[in-house]
């Protein structure tokens, strides 16, 4: 994957660093940190292109890295200090905006039913209904391009949590992730099924290929998972995030599949969606009860984080959905200009 085109001073400053190998001397001094803090403070962190793309670039060092970027940057203290500036701004904004239901007991069924209540299907406008009934071929392609940022690496951010858990929640997460990763069959990996969907729609299935076209909100939705996944202190939130993600998947995926069938796509292209109708009806039960619910019983102080992770997932999902529907109802593209 190539480094993305910077969208502002944060990205430009990071690119300047990453094109050279890391050095032993500190490059990031107080002047640089202050400049980053100022840039992060003036932005709306959830919709700021420069902040979200730069944070995504920093997180990508932990996944697959970039062509021409030294792998040693992953644990370089300088870039970790810069990452924290962006994460602090991102977290503060989420704390400010995301409402968490109060009064949930640290018990398996109480946590599971709180999560199911938060994720209950609503009657409002949804991307899934739009794709099912109204999207044209261009909008369907745009939808896939938005989804591809996460889905071509589906499940990876939640996998970070496995060594941070123990007992039932750990086994539950592994059970879900094993299914996500194809149960031993690489061609059934969900990321591989989605790659096939991309190819079926005539799109490029290489990870990160379209990142320059994606708006901040789409990138923020993935950054949220990396933030929760990469920090052990957020283990409750990543569990809640996965539960909410799975709980809002089966019914929409049936509609996505219907939409792509309506547009004339074959089974190979719709397989990803059809697979998720069945898989996520299983995963939502495991993630809600044995992952999130049992984790709450093991570590009762994490209940708030579990519900915060779920609420943050839903909040960003809603922002992305609104972005897509607003663009499409205005007759414009939901992507940035090529």
């Amino acid at each position: 994957m190539k480094l993305p085109a910077p969208r502002g001073p944060l990205g430009a400053s990071l690119t300047d660093l990453l094109v050279h190998p890391p050095r032993d001397t500190d490059i990031v001094d107080d002047v640089v940190l202050t400049r980053w803090r100022d840039a992060a403070a003036t932005a709306d962190p959830l919709t700021d292109d420069d902040l979200q793309l730069t944070l995504w670039t920093l997180y990508a060092l932990h996944y697959r890295g970039f062509e021409g970027v030294d792998d040693a940057w992953e644990w370089d203290p300088d870039v970790l200090r810069l990452r924290r500036v962006l994460e602090d701004a991102f977290e503060a904004s989420l704390r400010d905006r995301v409402a968490v239901p109060a009064g949930t007991a640290a018990e398996r069924e109480a946590v599971a039913s709180a999560l199911f209540a938060m994720t209950a299907p609503g009657p409002g406008p949804s991307v899934a209904r739009y794709v099912s009934r109204s999207a044209d071929a261009t909008q369907a392609e745009e939808f896939l391009i938005h989804r591809s940022l996460y889905t071509l690496m589906e499940a990876d951010p939640h996998t970070w949590a496995i060594p941070r858990l123990s007992g039932v929640p750990k086994a539950a997460l592994v059970e879900v992730q094993a299914d996500e990763y194809g149960g031993g069959r690489p061609e059934r990996m969900h990321s591989a099924l989605f790659a096939r969907t991309m190819r079926g729609a005539g799109l490029v299935d290489e990870y990160g290929y379209y990142v320059d076209r994606l708006p901040a909100v789409t990138i923020a939705a993935l950054n949220l998972m990396s933030l929760f996944g990469l920090h052990r202190r957020w283990r409750g939130a990543i569990a809640g995030h996965l539960a909410a993600f799975e709980m809002t998947s089966s019914l929409p995926n049936r509609l996505y599949g219907d939409g792509f069938r309506r547009l004339g796509h074959d089974e190979g292209t719709t397989d990803y969606f059809d697979e998720h109708v069945e898989a996520d009806a299983v995963h939502e039960q495991i993630a809600g009860r044995d992952l999130a619910g049992r984790l709450a019983e093991q570590e009762p102080e994490l209940v708030g984080d579990i519900l915060f992770g779920a609420a943050a997932c839903l909040y960003l999902d809603e922002l992305v959905g609104r972005h897509l529907l607003d663009a499409w109802s205005a007759g414009t593209s939901s992507l940035r200009a090529a």
């Binding site: 069924e109 599971a112 039913s113 199911f116 209950a120 299907p121 059970e175 094993a178 299914d179 149960g183 031993g184 998947s249 089966s250 019914l251 049936r254 697979e275 109708v277 069945e278 898989a279 996520d280 009806a281 299983v282 939502e284 039960q285 495991i286 009860r289």
Partner: protein
């Protein structure tokens, strides 16, 4: 999977949701023909509204299915 130890079947009745089936279970249709299990753990529909029966597709949530307690 060869050489795997037998795993006794468990069926978990999820409140307001499906039956979660783990372990060594053979699913068959009304004529005794095997129904392919595409994953190790499957969820069987309990609300009667699934479009992919006998598997669950989450429809119980859309129809407000409630299991008797």
């Amino acid at each position: 999977m060869t050489g795997r130890a037998p795993q006794p079947a468990t069926i978990e009745a999820c409140p307001n949701g499906p039956l979660l089936v783990r372990g060594d279970v053979e699913l068959v249709d009304a004529d005794g023909r095997p129904i392919e299990k595409r994953r190790r753990t499957v969820a069987l529909c309990r609300c009667g509204s699934s479009a992919i029966a006998p598997f669950c597709d989450g429809s119980h949530k859309a129809i407000g299915f409630v299991t008797p307690s």
